[in-house]
Symmetry: C2
Subunit: 137 residues, 2 copies
Amino acid sequence: MKTIEQLLESKNIRVTAMRLLIYKFLAKKEVAVTLSDIENAFEKADRTTLYRTVKTFEEKAIVHQIDDGTGITKYALCEKGCNCEIETDLHLHFHCNNCNETICLTDHKIPQIKVPDGFVSENVNLVVKGICDKCSV
Amino acid sequence: MKTIEQLLESKNIRVTAMRLLIYKFLAKKEVAVTLSDIENAFEKADRTTLYRTVKTFEEKAIVHQIDDGTGITKYALCEKGCNCEIETDLHLHFHCNNCNETICLTDHKIPQIKVPDGFVSENVNLVVKGICDKCSV
DNA sequence: AAAACCAATGCAATGGAAGTGCATTTATTA
DNA sequence: TAATAAATGCACTTCCATTGCATTGGTTTT
């Protein structure tokens, strides 16, 4: 059981108050968040700082970016079962058309996709849209 | 064999010179294009006109929109094998990380994706990224 | 401990794409 | 031909992503 500090240090990311707060915020959320979401949660911090923090996390495979088709980039922590460094370990994302939230279905791996001869598949982005469990009752 | 004029009329779209040109441009291209691509091809036309023309085509299921993860919306003609009106008829798209082009793999349908209980799947967006046939030789 | 250094933060500004309101032109219909 | 409706063009706005630069703050070196 690592502390957040240890996790950051193990990835060569300097531990700062801001980064700890942002990490905790992401950990608390169970859905993918936009930069604006983070911004609203930390009114005192500057957009740029948040932006660059998230980018840093992304480079070091602490968060992954999600393009759910809303046109706004979302981010979510890479956690248990999410090995973003490994190309082939890709889970799918679900976007709710009702509440507009996007969640990682970490344990739903993407099936092998066949592409025509001559094409080389490196990466797959799969977003399922519909109604989430909270909205479908 | 329908003429473009007949196709447009059959979908209740007024035939104009601009629309014919845009349709032909899309038909000529074998890849999905951005609004800017169209804009560059028709320097004399206004962005807005192109934008609204494409939107009109989209509403009438003549083109479909593609979100390939580049952050820029792309469009491609719906043609043989592409029945965009039918929700379940979804083909996949391939985005080349080298030449940055996105093409429709019309005959590659998206496999059935299982989602957890309580989730209702309405739509699926699947983009495979890698190297296309032209770039992989 | 002080100086030098580098990374993190904050502020301001830019750029690109999507979208909207309104005036004008063009086409359709009465 | 007049009246009407749709298509086009121009100007502008908004929103998100991104960058440059000055400043702050923490590390390392001497």
